[in-house]
């Protein structure tokens, strides 16, 4: 680390920790409610991600990668990513936690159906893209113009 980047590093850490301290003090000074409940949700989010969600994602990816043809994997991975992130957001709406008998305008949609529409469209687009890639790949190999891999190599060797 150069002198200036070391100074930036420590200045940043000092400023950052000071702002964090202001945040914690604000939490304790104002009428937060139960600080323990806040701590549970704050740390619970890290644990939920690092211990549950991330391992699930990596194991699932590892399995699916072995099940699908290698050339389809990036597209499949991308579609899985879109599906999972949209599903995570949709969860409290699908469960309708916020619904109340006195107010029909709250959480008013059929969110399970909405999620199916989004995921369905995602995979439809992915499928169409893969079909397009495959057709193009067959055409170009029939015309002996080489595969995508050699295309991309050609691209970087002539910058």
């Amino acid at each position: 680390m150069t002198g200036s980047s070391r100074r930036l590093f420590w200045a940043g850490q000092t400023a950052g920790v000071a702002i964090i301290a202001i945040g914690i003090r604000g939490l304790l000074d104002e009428r937060l409610g139960q600080p323990a409940s806040f701590a549970r949700f704050f740390l619970g989010g890290v644990i939920a991600h690092d211990v549950i969600l991330a391992p699930l994602v990596f194991v699932t990816a590892w399995l699916v990668k072995r099940l699908v043809p290698a050339w389809t994997w990036p597209a499949v991975r991308n579609a899985m990513f879109v599906s999972v992130t949209v599903a995570l957001f949709s969860y409290p709406f699908i469960r309708g936690f916020g619904r109340r008998p006195t107010n029909d305008t709250v959480v008013p949609r059929d969110y399970a159906q909405g999620l199916l529409v989004v995921i369905g469209l995602t995979w439809l687009v992915t499928g169409a893209w893969l079909a397009f890639r495959r057709m193009r790949g067959q055409e170009s190999s029939a015309e002996a113009e080489g595969s995508d891999e050699s295309d991309s190599t050609a691209r970087i060797s002539s910058p």
Binding site: I22, L88, R109
Partner: protein
Amino acid sequence: MNSHAEATERVRPPVTLPRFGERLHDERSAALVGMALGAMFSICLATGVLSHLIQHPPGWFTWPARPAGFYRVSQGVHVTTGIALIPVVLAKLWIVYPKLFRWPPIDDVADAVERLTLLPLVGGMIFLLFSGTANVALWYPWEFSFPVAHYWATWITVGAMVAHVSAKATIIGRTVRRRQATPEATPTTTTTTTADRRSFLGAVAAASGTLAVATVGQTFRPLAAISVLGPRDPRVNVQGVPVNKAVGESSGLAEAVASPSYRLVVRGRVDQELSFSREDLLAMPQHTARLPIACVEGWSAEADWTGVRVRDLLAMAGARAGAEVGVESLQQRGSFRASVLNSKHAADRDTLLALKINGEDLHPDHGFPVRLIGPNRPGVQQTKWVAELVVR
């Protein structure tokens, strides 16, 4: 000091467990997604702090009444950007997750400090996105105040982000200059990784955009039909506008609003205290304004509101020019049972005590017998079931 930047930049022997197959867990991916995250987070921060200032104005801050629809846009941007941030944060965590298992876990003091600030960074980011999403879903599975927690957790996250960005300044600079991250990699693998990275970053952008389009119809009405995951649907409404707090949620309120003994009282620093029945107010000069209800939860809907100008009532009572006004509800309890009209809002021609919405008498869920409606105000400050104006 053993050079910290060199330590993190040094190519480590592959002792991370388990082995992560994707090539995308590198600093360039992390920096690119991190910069998008930082930009979107900054938008949420600016709009969020603004909303906080409007609701808890310090002495130096006076929120103007114009432009009338500004808060509607800024809060819509806050909530939509926050929702769109979810895939970006998850992508960022996915890219850097293997580093959690790096060995040795700490190189030196600087590295230890840097890694420690990841806890408030990751915890804060997840907390903000989770609590924000739960709040727009009106789901409160916790025992703390959402506004207090969401606001101060923001500063914890900002602090951690300042620390993190300053620690990663070298990498960010290198990424901005578009130099390749792994100089020893062969051209072929670099290109394959670049193509793969582009495709993955495209997916992150697609997920982000999908969530934005799938929800923004709650405030941008032309997209209401395709926003299939919108927390609200402006087409599902009472008298043209969705409802946040219904009259039936507060005990005794339904009886209070229907009582024939209802009176609106104007008191405080006035020459003459005034008291009006709803009929008295209907007999006064009526004004109609087209204004949105712009909820802090990000949805909004416009309506034609008809009623009496607050400034006319203040003039009748002999309040001084430039007075502020406390607006109190018939609600006995609740954090949003009262609001304040600053001098600009109190004097605005469109700040009304509304009696009608879209030509009909207000539904009790919209604040019958009388509600406050004014330009450029958060929905929680459009007090319903108004009982008193207290001039200050």
